[in-house]
C-alpha cells in the first residue's frame, strides 16, 4: 500500500515556477522532513497537500487514494491534519474550544440536536490530547492571552485532536526557545511512537531535523536537491552549495 506519495508536483505563481516536478513518498510511521532555504517551496507543498492550492501538474496519493481533487474540508476526514507556520489559532476562543474544533471532522450531531444541546460529543479524545501535551493549566484560557510557545503546542494539539494518520507540521520550532524546541522534539517522537502518527514536517532547525527525522528532502527554488537520511542530505554537495553559496 502506498501511504503517501507526491508525484511530479508543479505549481506556478504568476510567472514563477514555485514547484517543479517534486516527487517523494512517505512510508507509514516515518518522520519525513522537508528542508530548504526561504522561498524553496516547502510551505507550498503543505498547501498543496491540504488542497488550498491546486497543482498545475502532478498527483497526490494518500492511502491508495488520489486526493489531488478532493475538497479542502474533506482532507481532515481523510486523516491529514496540519499546523501553520505563523499559527492559525482561533484567538478569541479558549484552548478547549480550539481543541474541540479539531474534532469537527468527526462531528455526528445534526443542527436540530445542537439547538436542543443533546450532548453527542467527542470530548474524551480532547481530554486525552490535553493530558498528552500537558495543556491542563491553560484549558480555559483564551488563546489571545497565551504566550507564543504555548500557542504552538495548542496548535499541534488541535491537529492531533482530528486523530490524523498523517500530521503536517510547518516549522514546529519557529519562535521557540532552545528548551521548548527540545520539548517539541520529544513530542514529535512521542507522536510517532506512542500515537503511531506519520509526521511530514518542514523545519529549519537542523538540530531538531537530525534528532527526529528518518528521511529528509532538500529543496531549492522548487526543485528537489537531495533525498536521504539527515546525514546524507546534510553532506550532499548540492545542499551545501544552496545553503552556503559558492
Amino acid at each position: 500500500m502506498t501511504f503517501f506519495k507526491a508525484d511530479g508536483l508543479s505549481i506556478n505563481f504568476g510567472g514563477i515556477r514555485a514547484l517543479d516536478a517534486v516527487s517523494f513518498d512517505v512510508e507509514a510511521g516515518q518522520i519525513f522532513t522537508i528542508i530548504g532555504p526561504n522561498g524553496a517551496g516547502k510551505t507550498t507543498i503543505f498547501n498543496l497537500v491540504s488542497r488550498i492550492y491546486d497543482p498545475l501538474q502532478g498527483r497526490l496519493i494518500f492511502r491508495d487514494e488520489d486526493i489531488t481533487a478532493v475538497a479542502p474540508h474533506e482532507i481532515a476526514r481523510r486523516g491529514i491534519a496540519r499546523t501553520f507556520q505563523n499559527l492559525e489559532l482561533f484567538e478569541h476562543a479558549t484552548v478547549l474550544h480550539n481543541l474541540l474544533l479539531g474534532r469537527h471532522a468527526h462531528k455526528r450531531s445534526r443542527f436540530v440536536e445542537e439547538l436542543l444541546f443533546l450532548p453527542l460529543e467527542h470530548r474524551e479524545a480532547v481530554e486525552t490530547v490535553i493530558d498528552f501535551l500537558d495543556l491542563q493549566p491553560y484549558r480555559d484560557s483564551l488563546i489571545a492571552n497565551l504566550p507564543y510557545g504555548v500557542r504552538k503546542v495548542v496548535e499541534m494539539g488541535r491537529a492531533l485532536c482530528t486523530q490524523p494518520k498523517l500530521l503536517l507540521l510547518d516549522e514546529p520550532s519557529s519562535g521557540l526557545s532552545v528548551e521548548e524546541t527540545d520539548d517539541m522534539a520529544f513530542w514529535i517522537q512521542d507522536i510517532r511512537t506512542l500515537l503511531g502518527i506519520t509526521v511530514l514536517m518542514v523545519e529549519h532547525d537542523m538540530r531538531l531535523v537530525t534528532a527526529v527525522s528518518d528521511r529528509v528532502l532538500a529543496l531549492n527554488y522548487g526543485r528537489p536537491l537531495a533525498l536521504g537520511t539527515p546525514r546524507e542530505v546534510q553532506e550532499h554537495p548540492e545542499v551545501v552549495k544552496a545553503y552556503l553559496g559558492g
Binding site: H73, R82, F90, E91, A93, L100, E114, F117, R123, A144
Partner: protein, 380 residues
C-alpha cells in the same frame, strides 16, 4: 474574587458557569416577570427592547460570531414582518403557523443572500447585503397585493390559540418568552460543533477549512439561522408597530441593527441585549434632548445677557431640529465605540466587574491591548 473549581468534565457542558451565575439569571428572569406591575406605562417600550434584542441576537450570530457583517438585516426583519402578516391576515392561518411559515421564508431568503456571500469577504459582502436590502425595500413598495405598498398595512393584535393578546403585558410576556427561547437555542448552538465552526470561520478561515469545516455550508447556515431569528423578530415587530410601511425597513434601520451589536459588544450574547437596550432607548433620549436642550443651553447662555441667550437658544434649536441628526448621532456613537471600546458595552461591563471584584488591586493594564505581531491580531 471568585474562582470556579472544576472537579468534573461535565462542568464544561453546563449552560451556566456555576450556581452563582445561574442564580443571577434566575433573579433577572424573576425581575422581568414582575416588571409589568412595576412600570405598567412603559411596557410598550420594553417590548421594543426585547424585539430589538431578538434582532440583535440574529445579527450577533452573523457579525459577532461568524464574522460576516451585514448591512441588510432590516430586509430580513421586513420579510418576516410582511410574511407573517400576509399569512396570518390575508390567508387567515393560525398565528403560530403563520409565524413558522414566515420564519422558514426568511431563512430561505437568508440562504439566497448567503450563497453569493461565499465568494465575498469583508466590505464587499457588506455592500452586497446593503444592495439586497435596497432591492427588498423596493419590492415591499411595489408588491401592493401582499404588502399594501406605500399605503401600508394595518396589523391586528396577535391571537394565539384563540386567546387575543390585546393587553400590553400579554404582548410583553410573548416577546420575553421568544427572547429567552432564542437566547437558549442560540447559546446551545454556540457551544455545539456548528457554533464552534462559525467562530472558527471568524477567526481563521484557512485553519477552519483544514480542520474539516465546510466554509460554504457553515456560512450559509449562519445566514439562514440569523435570517430565521430576524424573521421571528419581524413578526413581533409587526405587532408592535401595528402598521407596516416600506419606509420602516430602511437602510437606517439596518445601520441601527448593526450599531446594536457593535455598541453592545461583538462576540457575546450579552452584547446583543445590551445593544438592544441602547438602540431602543437612544431615539427616546434624542427626542427628549431635542425638546429640552435649546432651553437649557439658551438659559445657560442667558447669563451673558438676554440677547445672547435668545440667539443661542435659536441657534441650538435650529441645530437640533435639523433633519438627519439622528442618523448622524448613531454614526458618531458607532465610530466612537469602534475607536475607544471595540468590545462594546459588554466589554466595559466586564472591566467594571473586574474592578469591583478585585477592588483595591485593580490594574489598568489588565485590559491594555498588547501589540502583537501574529497574523490574526492584525486589523481585520
Amino acid at each position: 474574587m471568585r474562582f470556579v473549581f472544576k472537579t468534573s468534565y461535565t462542568q464544561d457542558l453546563g449552560l451556566f458557569r456555576d450556581d452563582v451565575q445561574r442564580n443571577g439569571y434566575v433573579a433577572l428572569a424573576a425581575g422581568l416577570v414582575v416588571l409589568p406591575w412595576l412600570i405598567p406605562n412603559y411596557l410598550v417600550d420594553v417590548s421594543l427592547v426585547l424585539i430589538y434584542a431578538i434582532g440583535g441576537l440574529s445579527l450577533m450570530v452573523l457579525a459577532g460570531y461568524t464574522g460576516l457583517v451585514s448591512l441588510g438585516h432590516a430586509a430580513f426583519l421586513g420579510i418576516g414582518a410582511y410574511a407573517h402578516v400576509y399569512f396570518a391576515q390575508s390567508l387567515g392561518l393560525p398565528w403560530l403557523v403563520a409565524l413558522a411559515l414566515a420564519v422558514v421564508l426568511t431563512a430561505a431568503a437568508g440562504v439566497l443572500v448567503g450563497l453569493p456571500a461565499l465568494r465575498m469577504t469583508g466590505v464587499y459582502l457588506t455592500i452586497a447585503t446593503l444592495a439586497f436590502a435596497l432591492i427588498i425595500q423596493e419590492v415591499f413598495t411595489r408588491w401592493e397585493r401582499v404588502t399594501g405598498g406605500l399605503k401600508g398595512r394595518a396589523v391586528d393584535k396577535p391571537v394565539i390559540f384563540g386567546v387575543a393578546l390585546a393587553h400590553d403585558a400579554a404582548f410583553y410576556f410573548l416577546c420575553l418568552a421568544v427572547l429567552i427561547g432564542g437566547l437558549w437555542l442560540t447559546s446551545n448552538v454556540l457551544r455545539s460543533p456548528t457554533g464552534r465552526a462559525w467562530i472558527a470561520i471568524r477567526d481563521s478561515e484557512i485553519a477552519a477549512q483544514s480542520l474539516g469545516v465546510n466554509l460554504a455550508l457553515y456560512k450559509t447556515m449562519a445566514f439562514a439561522y440569523s435570517a430565521a431569528l430576524m424573521g421571528v423578530a419581524g413578526a413581533l415587530f409587526a405587532h408592535k408597530v401595528g402598521f407596516l410601511a416600506p419606509d420602516i425597513f430602511s437602510v437606517l434601520l439596518s445601520i441601527q441593527l448593526l450599531l446594536m451589536v457593535v455598541v453592545g459588544g461583538l462576540g457575546s450574547l450579552h452584547g446583543a441585549v445590551f445593544g438592544a437596550v441602547f438602540v431602543a432607548l437612544l431615539p427616546v433620549a434624542i427626542s427628549q434632548a431635542r425638546d429640552a436642550l435649546p432651553a437649557w443651553i439658551g438659559g445657560a447662555a442667558g447669563v451673558l445677557g438676554p440677547r445672547a441667550g435668545t440667539a443661542v437658544f435659536l441657534g441650538v434649536d435650529r441645530f437640533v431640529k435639523q433633519p438627519g441628526l439622528e442618523p448622524g448621532i448613531f454614526g458618531l456613537i458607532l465610530v466612537l465605540f469602534i475607536l475607544f471600546e471595540p468590545l462594546g458595552v459588554y466589554g466595559r461591563w466586564l472591566k467594571l466587574r473586574l474592578f469591583f471584584s478585585t477592588f483595591p488591586l485593580y490594574k489598568r493594564a489588565t485590559f491594555r491591548r498588547q501589540k502583537s505581531y501574529m497574523r490574526s491580531e492584525r486589523l481585520r
